[in-house]
Symmetry: C2
Subunit: 200 residues, 2 copies
């Protein structure tokens, strides 16, 4: 029996993945409002009933999409161990992590989430929770790297990095007007100025 349960679980998980991939595609092309459960069902080659057995409604699908995007971001934070020069370079050169298509889609979906959050309190809460999680993880990492900084100093620096990262993400919708080389040296200077030398 445990064997069967595991098989069932694997099937359930695979089905959820299938739905999430289809939903990402639908939302990406038509926005949350343009895409209904029927379209998501059609694209994932499942019935609407099968979809509802995995997700209670569209908001639950959005929540799972955001959860996965945030998990990926947290993995990247954990892997990076904040190399400040690398961060400056990624921001200045608008570096695409992972494959460009996924990253573009993630970004477009997060914009859609943000726009929706301004009128849908359920989605606003999903966004709040995701941000709280990311902020906490980034704070813990910086605390390990810079034990000399106080908690409020750490929080201000996490906010600075969040502002710079999200601002850069947002501006990737328009053409880069500054020289990346100039920006790189500017960002390096800024980060070196607000972080103490690493205790090694």
């Amino acid at each position: 029996m445990p064997q069967l349960t595991t098989q069932r679980e694997a099937k359930f998980r695979a089905r959820r993945d299938q739905i999430i991939n289809a939903a990402r595609d639908c939302f990406r092309r038509q926005g949350f409002h343009g895409a209904g459960m029927a379209e998501i069902a059609a694209l994932s080659e499942l019935s609407v009933g099968q979809i509802y057995r995995c997700f209670t409604n569209k908001d639950a699908i959005i929540e799972e999409i955001v959860r996965r995007i945030v998990n990926n971001k947290m993995l990247m934070i954990a892997r990076d161990e904040t190399n400040l020069n690398r961060l400056a370079g990624d921001l200045a050169y608008r570096v695409i992590h992972r494959d460009a298509q996924t990253r573009d889609d993630d970004q477009a979906l997060m914009l859609e989430v943000a726009a929706e959050a301004t009128r849908n309190p359920v989605v606003a809460l999903i966004l709040q929770d995701a941000d709280t999680l990311l902020f906490r993880q980034a704070s813990e990492m910086l605390k390990r790297l810079y034990p000399v900084l106080s908690d409020t100093e750490i929080a201000a620096r996490v906010e600075l990095i969040a502002v710079m990262t999200e601002g850069t993400d947002f501006r990737m919708l328009t053409a880069q007007k500054a020289s990346p080389t100039q920006l790189y040296s500017l960002y390096k200077k800024i980060l070196q100025n607000v972080f103490p030398p690493m205790d090694k």
Copy 2:
């Protein structure tokens, strides 16, 4: 006859304002996709035909909304004459310019524009043009204030301010987790570090 033309123009302008206000309201509550020309007509108490005499389609309405938001931003830039400490404070304390409702609406509408720009090339172009205009005006202002900086140095600093402003705008969707006082001193330090003392 010129009298009559002026009257007609005034009426045309008033009608456009009426439509823009109704459209902002519709888009704000339902997004671009949720709100059709019929709803905008109903809310502005005009016929659909009257709407089409002022705007050829929904994209043209979006364009006019963005144009007005950008004009307001440009007026604010021109008025501000970049007091760096004031800018640091506005960012750290997430200061609301003008009345809070209009600012909230502007921000939500720009998010909607950004999300739409990821799938609609007409809207992507509207966003590009708006950004080019703002970037140019900000560059000219900084050039007057800091004649010692080269054009590429100016561009990098305009980009930095744009990243910080748009990143902060975006993060206003979630609760502030850092102390504004700490952030203020951090931002002041950053801006003083990248701008030379003003030539007076």
